[in-house]
Symmetry: C2
Subunit: 308 residues, 2 copies
């Protein structure tokens, strides 16, 4: 079975949308990635850190889905990373109300025994030095290393980020970040510039407008499934990354053609994530729901023009 | 051969983009629709009005493409509709600097003999009473009637617009207009409400974010082709409509499955339109370019996930 190593935050989120608000609930990039990846036949492990305020029941949720949590360090007396945000009416933008790094501020990732030879490494959005530390702990170069990052690291740790970017295969960022990174408005030009920086594959996430995959002169596009209502976008990008990396770890086929499928699998799972607060929907998601919606993606995008 | 009747403006445009500016050049919704439709094997005619300031060479351009122009009235001493606009840096929004309706203000459309039995009628963005007049001149209900409109008519002639909408099959509007028309932010909900108003098919154009086709519980999505550079978006929506209606008039197959192909054909032609100012690119477009780019659309969207 393919092995997937996930590095990222395991956290508390508090979310407010036009539809309601939550108290502190389960969140974090690695959590969403892990839950999405658990829809595939993979052996996965999360490397992260929490405080001893983090409920054992949340860790049990992950372990119940066959995610190895031995790499989640629990800091005695420490507090877990906490993010609080409020979405605007159209759900396309949000204000961050609270960011408490807490134990994540001094996070020293330790890759568990048995995952130093992972097939796929999914580096969630974190300080580039943490991402680099994980890369350096791998026994050999993984079949595929995927990186998420954000504007904060571009602003504050550009050199460190560039060093990491040279060692990965796929970068997954949003459209604004791709533009900031390259000073190019055209996403086609931005993706070409990013490929010159290192990663052979560039995934640009456009939220409700879908996701693009670039590789050399090839482009693939997956729409977001049009939904009656988006309830809470939190975690959608990480769920996309989890579906993408989980599918590729199961398939162990890293061709461009198969990456197209991975983009669709990621988009498919993200479409569930946004239907409820936080991880709620992902925690109860059933296999037949996933497959039915993949069928909807086919109906949504496949056509039959005969060409000579 | 399928017959396509096109109603809309034939006009002068003056355009400014970050890449340059033009003087008065050939423009108008019916012009772009006609040029796009001429890529298909159809007999098409334009119903419109111009002043005698309108160059014969422009009319010749249309006639050279086998477009029947006997329905383009030339008003002696009249001036042709003139629009001048300036695009913002991201090309997603623009300011209208000049709108002179001129001869279009008193436009009384006359459907030419030989087109009262058209298979497909494409009603470009005009006063709803003009659109209704054309509908009423048809000998029998066409196989398909497609309507474009805009926020101005929603604001000023709502009742007249609602009367027209009950008599058409497909409405093609942009996302902001769909939201204004229904007071629904979700495009899925907006499309459902619009179907209750009359048209069985709703096309929502999202510019650089593609186009959606809704029919009952079915949804199809076509992306815009990611381009290195969009040079001038003027006419892209009309070119899309021209490709959509031209393809359906040629095929004379109005199934949902075939409408998917029509959406792709429209998106494909629109991707050329934006590469140069105004009609420039469409006037020199070659068949093999159209087919090569259709292949790109396939690569961009088609995937191969096996489902049980």
């Amino acid at each position: 079975m393919g092995k997937l190593l996930i590095v990222g935050s395991v956290a508390f989120d508090a979310i407010e949308t036009p539809f309601g608000k939550t108290g502190k609930i389960l969140g974090g990039a690695a959590t969403f990635i892990g839950l999405a990846a658990s829809q595939f036949k993979v052996k996965s492990a999360i490397v992260s850190v929490v405080g001893d305020d983090f409920p054992k029941s949340y860790l049990d949720l992950l372990e119940d889905r066959n995610i190895d949590i031995s790499g989640i360090e629990i800091i005695k007396g420490g507090k877990t990373f906490y993010w609080k945000g409020k979405y605007h009416n159209d759900l396309n933008s949000r204000d961050t109300l609270v960011t408490e790094l807490n134990t994540l501020a001094n996070f020293n990732p330790i890759v568990p025994n048995g995952f130093m030879d992972a097939d796929v490494v999914m580096l969630g959005n974190l300080h580039p030095n943490i991402q680099m530390s994980v890369i350096n702990q791998m026994e050999k170069r993984p079949k595929l290393t995927i990186l998420d990052t954000m504007n904060y690291w571009m602003d504050n740790t550009w050199d460190e980020l560039m060093a990491v970017i040279q060692k990965i295969d796929v970068i997954a960022i949003n459209d604004a970040e791709a533009r900031q990174m390259t000073q190019e408005y055209s996403l086609v030009k931005a993706a070409a510039k990013i490929q010159e920086m290192g990663p052979k594959y560039v995934v640009i996430k456009k939220g409700e407008h879908g996701a693009l995959l670039f590789h050399e002169e090839h482009i693939f596009f997956a729409p977001a499934l049009p939904l009656e209502e988006v309830f809470d976008p939190t975690g959608a990008g990480d769920t996309f990354a989890g579906g993408f990396s989980g599918y590729l770890a199961e398939a162990r086929n890293i061709s461009f053609e198969n990456m197209k499928n991975a983009i669709i699998q990621g988009s498919n799972l993200a479409s569930f994530c946004v239907e409820r607060f936080g991880t709620e929907r992902m925690l109860e998601l059933q296999r037949h729901e996933v497959e039915n919606r993949l069928m909807q993606f086919k109906e949504l995008t496949q056509f039959n023009i005969e060409l000579n």
